[in-house]
Amino acid sequence: MYLDSDRRPPITPQLAFRVAVIGGLALIMFAVIFFRLWYLQILSGDKYLADANNNRVREIKVEAPRGEILDRDGRVLVDNRVGLAVKVRPDEIPPPGPRRNALYERLAKTLRMKPAVVRKSVESQFKAQPFVSATVKQDVQFPAVSYLAEHARDFPGVEPEAVFLREYPHHEIGAHLFGTVGEVTKEQLNDARYRGVALGDRVGQSGVEYSYDRFLRGENGKQRVQVNALGVKTRDLRETESRQGRNLRLGIDLDVQEAGQAALGTSRGAFVVINAQTGEVVALGSSPSFDPNIFAKVIRPRDYKRLSAEENGKPLFDRAIQGGYPTGSTFKLITSVAALEGGLITPETPLFDGGSLTVGGVTFNNAGGVAHGSLALRQALTVSSDVFFYRLGLAAENRGNGLLIQDWAHRLGLGRLTGIDLPAEGQGLVPSPAWRNALYKKKLTDRPWSVGDNINLAVGQGDLSVTPLQLAVAYATVANGGYVVRPHLGQRIEDADGRVLQEFETPSRRKVDLDPAYRQAIMDGLYGAANLPGGTSTEVFTGFKIPVAGKTGTAEKGLGRADQSWYAAITYPDDPQYVVVATDEAGGFGAERAAPMVRQIIAALYDAKDDGPSTVSRVPD
């Protein structure tokens, strides 16, 4: 057995050589591996560690739905619906060139858009925010999204994202209040208001969406997912849940809001209903209105243009808080306060109304040309004697610094922001010598200030610019005895189950000293105007069950243009509850258009059955 054919001395030089060759190979092999490991782990370790750390774990934002906006009775004014947006990730889209263009073309075909539009939109978004996914299309139909998901390979970097889109079930009603939601801007990110908001988050950009954004916005959740090289989610790693925004309950009464909008119809105008004591806004509307649902998606430039066009009445423009107008005779309230408090007259001082007043060669006429004879303040307000107030304007001009009316207008909230919880409020203007003379110096007007300006101001004509809301605040101040209320929409913050989380207190009111006797005289005059024979709006309110005091106004807009109709009312003047102001830019006399509107609104406010005034009143004021 020892002489086996393969038996040989234990080791021959040849075998030793061959083993050495294999051993040498092994040595080379291990050396190569060690050098490569040294290179990877020791020399380049930091780079690979960084790569590993931001490897394809992706944080996907889980957008929190915004809170709902409710009216004072809990009826939903604004809620959410889920839409699908198609986005493109900047880190996964093919590099610029034919492959990227081909992607745009495929996307455009799938989403039924124009390739050029897709490219332009995506590229501009990447330019603005290079590291944020660009939205190709909001609110994409489900079949298109599932097609994209099934063909993920052909759409590198494209991903659908569920987004909550705002929904406005009442369409035109209250459209101006709510405002829009949009992606946070770079400037906003630096603002403390937006702490906790990340690039790409959507925040309220106007209306109460803006004012109460910090409550409505909620907290976005984060989902850490692992994705494979195709960007397809392969595993959920960790999730922090999103928290829906809080619900915001407004003081708005949907019924009153609807009534106001209905009363305005297609006219250009506005209406305001505020609580006379607290300033709580019950209704606030502007016409023409628009359907805010078109803002839920990215609005098309064409639509935006249409909604901003002058010939369409600029539906986006909120006349109630941004529209500054002369207020006509409704301004006589302010003139009355100024004259009484300034000592020009007492409630009983009689002034003669001969139908016109001539000052410095210029004749100022009563509207309608009637002469009321000698009358005191109450009667002057009731019949809306212009001459009575011309005389006060003249007297104010010649007394002290001549700014008596301006000062009181300012005290009562005109020419300054009311502080309502809405952005972009208009400030208006109470014309003064300083203002006009400065303009004149810059050659922006043809003449310096004259006494005629003050006479016009006394009856709310001329350069006066007051928003309907400002007028309502002035009336509320007189009604409640001197508290300049700050109008506010927000009532409280609730959770989804309606539990109150935070009640907004009535904002602090500025106090102006009004002599109760003077105030009463004015209130009497306003009561007379709506109730007594000869009152400018008595006809309108005949047969109306709710006690109302109110003042008509007719602002002259210049030759060839219809007069602007105004009405300011105080309900239950003995214990004033609400102030209602309505205006129609081309409504004619106050009694003709605005007063019936106010009647309609008040009827809704008190749930009163009312058929409106029996006739069209054309009483001038």
Binding site: M1, Y2, D4, S5, D6, R7, R8, P10, I11, Q14, L15, A16, R18, V19, V21, I22, G23, L25, A26, M29, F30, V32, I33, F34, R36, L37, W38, L40, Q41, I42, S44, G45, D46, K47, Y48, L49, D51, A52, N53, N55, R56, V57, Q226, N228, A229, L230, T234, R235, L237
Partner: protein
């Protein structure tokens, strides 16, 4: 057995003592290397696969431990046998190799587009793994039969043909990695036996021509020899970022994992590449990347050192063998281990193509673990036989 029977002092002892003596004569360092690698494997899998199968964090560890335990038992059992007897069984061994690989085509369970396994009640048997060892035993025997005619080209051609038949069969499964291992084995056996270098030069020329045909000419005329993914894999390592979504992805993830391990590793909890599944096949083909990520350069060095120890002992056993058959077997096993280690580790660090070759004793998988332990058992057997022969001759072996 004649050697054992005539061995001085052992004839009178009982079988028990005889086998005890044989166990004593095993190569302890080889044993340490094999068991050390197995331990590394179980430890690494334990940390890397906790999250892989929801609800059973120990799925892979438990199975790998069982394979390891059975493997060690098989190794010790094999060590007691005289491998020389296997020479007579060469035809049977070769037949079993072809038959079992052929059986895969009949019964093979499809997995990821490959048919490599035969489903057994308790585990999936992969004949191409066992084939590596059977081929070593059979080819070595064939070579010994023609040892005096090694200069003939016919000998080289025949042996090559014998190896190419199963190699082509496994490549068709498709299991390119195992096919390449078979080639490495046959070349090494021929080399150790003493085939003239001119034959190797000729083989090299033929191989170059074959590669050209397979990769360039055949696709040009529409014949697909290698599947697309195999070609992708083979070429991906040249420039992984060319194709980050396919084969290059695995490669990039693997390199990132290893690089991120730095000197001492990220620890098992922080090893995101592994734990978050970026690293594909981290329990099988890419287990070395897990070692690199979790335990860093230090951990990788330990594992590589154990492999170096294993290969050193195999080389040494080649020189010790009592007969040429043992040397050839040891050479074949050495080639099998070296090739797999280099190709697998090289693949994870981006210097070799992705070929789906497991890392012996480290990668999870029953067939691979058992076969590798069997191979180590054969090495032990050669060692034991050599020591016994030496003892019988009254000569001292140098350890």
């Amino acid at each position: 057995m004649a050697a054992a029977q005539s061995a001085f002092g052992t004839a009178v002892k009982g079988f028990r003592e005889e086998s005890a003596a044989r166990i004593v004569r095993i190569d302890v360092l080889l044993l340490v290397a094999a068991i050390g690698l197995m331990a590394c494997s179980i430890y690494t899998l334990g940390t890397a696969t906790e999250d892989d199968i929801a609800g059973s964090p120990y799925y892979y560890v438990l199975r790998q431990s069982i394979y390891g335990g059975v493997g060690i038992a098989l190794m010790l059992f094999t060590a007691r046998f005289d491998y020389s007897r296997l020479r007579e069984l060469k035809l049977g061994l070769y037949g079993v190799t072809l038959a079992s690989i052929g059986l895969v085509f009949l019964l093979g369970a499809a997995a990821r587009g490959s048919r490599r396994w035969i489903e057994l009640p308790f585990f999936r048997f992969q004949p191409s793994e066992l084939g590596k060892l059977l081929l070593i035993l059979a080819l070595s025997a064939f070579v010994i039969d023609r040892i005096r005619r090694l200069q003939d080209r016919e000998t080289t051609s025949r042996v090559m043909l014998l190896a190419l038949i199963p190699a082509i069969m496994v490549v068709a499964q498709p299991d390119l990695g195992s096919g390449l291992v078979y080639l490495a084995i046959v070349i090494t056996i021929l080399f150790v036996a003493g085939t003239p270098w001119t034959h190797f030069a000729a083989l090299g020329g033929i191989a170059a021509a074959a590669v050209a045909v397979v990769l360039v000419a055949a696709p040009a005329v529409g014949v697909t020899v290698l599947k697309d993914y195999q070609v992708d894999r083979l070429t991906a390592f040249i420039n992984p970022s060319d194709n980050p979504q396919e084969e290059g992805y695995q490669l990039e993830q693997s390199i990132t994992a290893i690089g991120a391990g730095q000197k001492t590793g990220r620890g098992s909890e922080e090893a995101t590449q592994t734990r978050l599944d970026f690293l594909p096949e981290h329990h099988t083909d890419f287990v070395f990347a897990v070692v690199g990520e979790e335990f860093g350069f230090a951990g990788a060095a330990i594992v590589l050192s154990l492999f170096a120890l294993l290969i050193w002992r195999a080389l040494r056993i080649m020189t010790m063998s009592k007969n040429l058959y043992g040397s050839l077997i040891a050479g074949g096993i050495c080639a099998m281990l070296m090739f797999q280690v280099f190709v697998n580790v090289g693949m994870t660090i981006g210097i070799m193509p992705i070929t789906g070759v497991p890392l012996p004793l480290m990668s999870y998988g029953g067939s691979s673990v058992l076969v590798t332990f069997l191979a180590v058992g054969l090495l032990q057997s050669i060692h034991v036989q050599a020591r016994e022969t030496a003892a019988a001759k009254g000569r001292e072996m140098i350890i």
